[in-house]
Amino acid sequence: MTTSAKPIAPRFLWLQPLLDVLAILAWGVLLLKYWLTGKVNVLLHPGYIWLVYCAGFFLLSLGLYKLGQFLWQMRRSNRLRPTAMPAHFSLFPAGWSSGLLLAVALFGLQFTPQPFASDVALNRGVTDTLTMTRSQPQAFRGNTRPEDRSIVDWVRTLNVYPEPDAYAGQKASVEGFTIHLPSLPDSYLMISRFVITCCAADVYPVGLPVKLSGSRSTYPADEWFRVEGQMITETIDNKRQLVIQAERLQSIPKPENPYDY
């Protein structure tokens, strides 16, 4: 443990405030960049995006103010005096923390967040059920036409009334990306979406099996498709479940916002 009152060699006294200012400015710019480029959609639920740009503007103003103060002090006295702060205890050596913050922000400016793909879905276990540890559905609309239901709507409907036979024969038209589950036979693929409640840390995949007329190799994993067809019940992996009997698979562009809510 060190205290920030620990003496720093006078000729390096300017380094700490400069690092602080740069780290704060860099984080302000990074948050605003993610917001302006729309990449924030990959990271967060849309309900919290306002927090990001508010924080971005605040950090930018704070950084600019401190930069002005820093430059003014440097010009005036050619060296900085330590501020008379109430003693503050810290865990890291001075400069270490701001250096880390600055480095991560600069890296973040170079890095483009990518929406998760089928490898994450396979790792997290793609299902047509919402397990107990998963968040519960926020809204349930029972009166939608079957062909208007998205994948998430289907999964939520199934979650409330899990008897697959109740939906057999209904029309389906859903959009999502493909996953080749090893446990499914070659003529089946999984059409999936990620659901997000807060940030990318809690996204989880949901999906429905699709029965194809041929091999799934025609439809590579992680491609986006609109699947149109009819609901049927099949026993796969010793489990009776709802399957889309595909009539048409149409390739669609990857949506700007990859998650569903």
């Binding site: 602080d20 704060i24 990271l43 003693a87 205890f89 810290s90 890095f111 990518q114 990318a200 840390a201």
Partner: protein, 344 residues
């Protein structure tokens, strides 16, 4: 390559979600540290130890500070003669029982609102009980670091109603040491640890408003730098565990009623993530760990963790920290287990 990309996306997602809340916490804690005089607060505390512990635990609603900001405030409270029950209650509950942490937890777990209320309720309960336990020790000085103990007022032998104020000032005057006379209310002490002496009163309160604002700005940057560094390390741990550790291992640990609680408590202790943003860290384990273990993480982390122990050592002797650690650990474990068995 894809794994690294996923881990980085997760890492930045946690940071981007957490930084606005961190900023808000730092803003409030800096503003209140510089504008609230805790001496007035001490005068309002009830004499009953249980009530004092409860009031202390609830002060977080006035001082929304996380576990780094609360140690200096608790230290000032103790040095200025606050009852032990109140100071301990504040120390343990303030990082959790406050509006900013409530909002952040709500943001992360709005689909499991029971977790949000259980977090606040259990933290309040545990902090109040521990504060009450500590109140049986009338004189806290043997548990304090010598420099703090010297700066504390001598407790009264038999506290008599109505006379306490008078006796307090007598007690201060009877302390041995070097004093400077001619100050407004009481002589200023010159010897002892200068850092502790400076903390006997909030030094910023004496200054004119523009100076206070500048100090507030500086304090914000200092806390932002310190807590931001830890947030980055915490987010990195969360991202690496999620992506690199095989799902079977995580599930095996996270689905056991007891193993999950122990694992999350150890993680809370090691990661030391700030309480304003720890709910986002916990969220990344929400699909694999039991509800009770998430609760244990959210209660225990803000009370005791590695970073916090370093800070607590500036106030308490090791013995007191061991008591705090054991009491808080046992009660958290019990609460989490009850949740796992009967609610989760």
């Amino acid at each position: 390559m894809n794994q690294i990309n996923n881990a980085l996306t997760l890492f930045f997602s946690l940071l981007v979600e957490a930084i606005p809340f961190l900023l808000l916490g730092v803003l409030f804690s800096s503003a209140l540290l510089l504008f609230v005089d805790e001496r007035r607060l001490i005068q309002l505390v009830p004499k009953n130890p249980l009530l004092a512990a409860l009031v202390g635990s609830l002060i977080g609603f006035l001082f929304p500070v996380c576990e780094c900001g609360n140690v200096p405030v608790a230290r000032r409270l103790i040095v200025q003669g606050a009852p032990g029950a109140m100071a301990i209650g504040f120390l343990l509950a303030a990082p959790t029982v406050n509006p900013i942490v409530f909002w952040a937890t709500w943001t992360a777990f709005r689909d499991q609102p029971e977790l949000v209320f259980l977090r606040v309720g259990c933290s309040l309960l545990i902090a109040t009980i521990i504060g009450w336990v500590f109140s049986t020790q009338a004189d806290l000085r043997p548990l304090m670091q010598p420099s703090i103990a010297r700066a504390m007022p001598v407790p009264l032998e038999k506290p008599a109603k109505g006379k306490s104020k008078n006796q307090d000032s007598t007690a201060t005057l009877l302390q041995s040491g070097t004093f400077m006379l001619g100050q407004k209310e009481q002589p200023f002490r010159l010897d002892g640890n200068p850092a502790a002496a400076a903390l006997t009163a909030n030094p910023a309160l004496e200054k004119p408003l523009p100076d206070r604002l500048r100090l507030m700005m500086d304090n914000m940057i200092q806390e932002l730098r310190e807590l931001g560094g830890i947030l980055i390390l915490g987010s990195a741990v969360a991202a690496i565990v999620q992506i690199a550790v095989p799902r079977e291992v995580v599930l095996g640990l996270g689905q056991g009623q007891i193993s999950s609680i122990v694992a999350m408590m150890v993680l809370a202790c090691v990661v030391s993530i700030c309480s304003t943003v720890d709910s986002f860290f916990a969220l990344s384990f929400a699909s694999t760990f039991t509800t009770g273990s998430l609760l244990a993480f959210l209660i225990f982390g803000p009370m005791i963790d590695l970073k916090n122990i370093a800070l607590l050592l500036s106030v308490f002797r090791t013995r007191a920290i061991v008591y705090l650690f054991l009491l808080a650990g046992q009660m958290t474990f019990l609460a989490a287990l009850l949740v796992n068995l009967y609610i989760g």
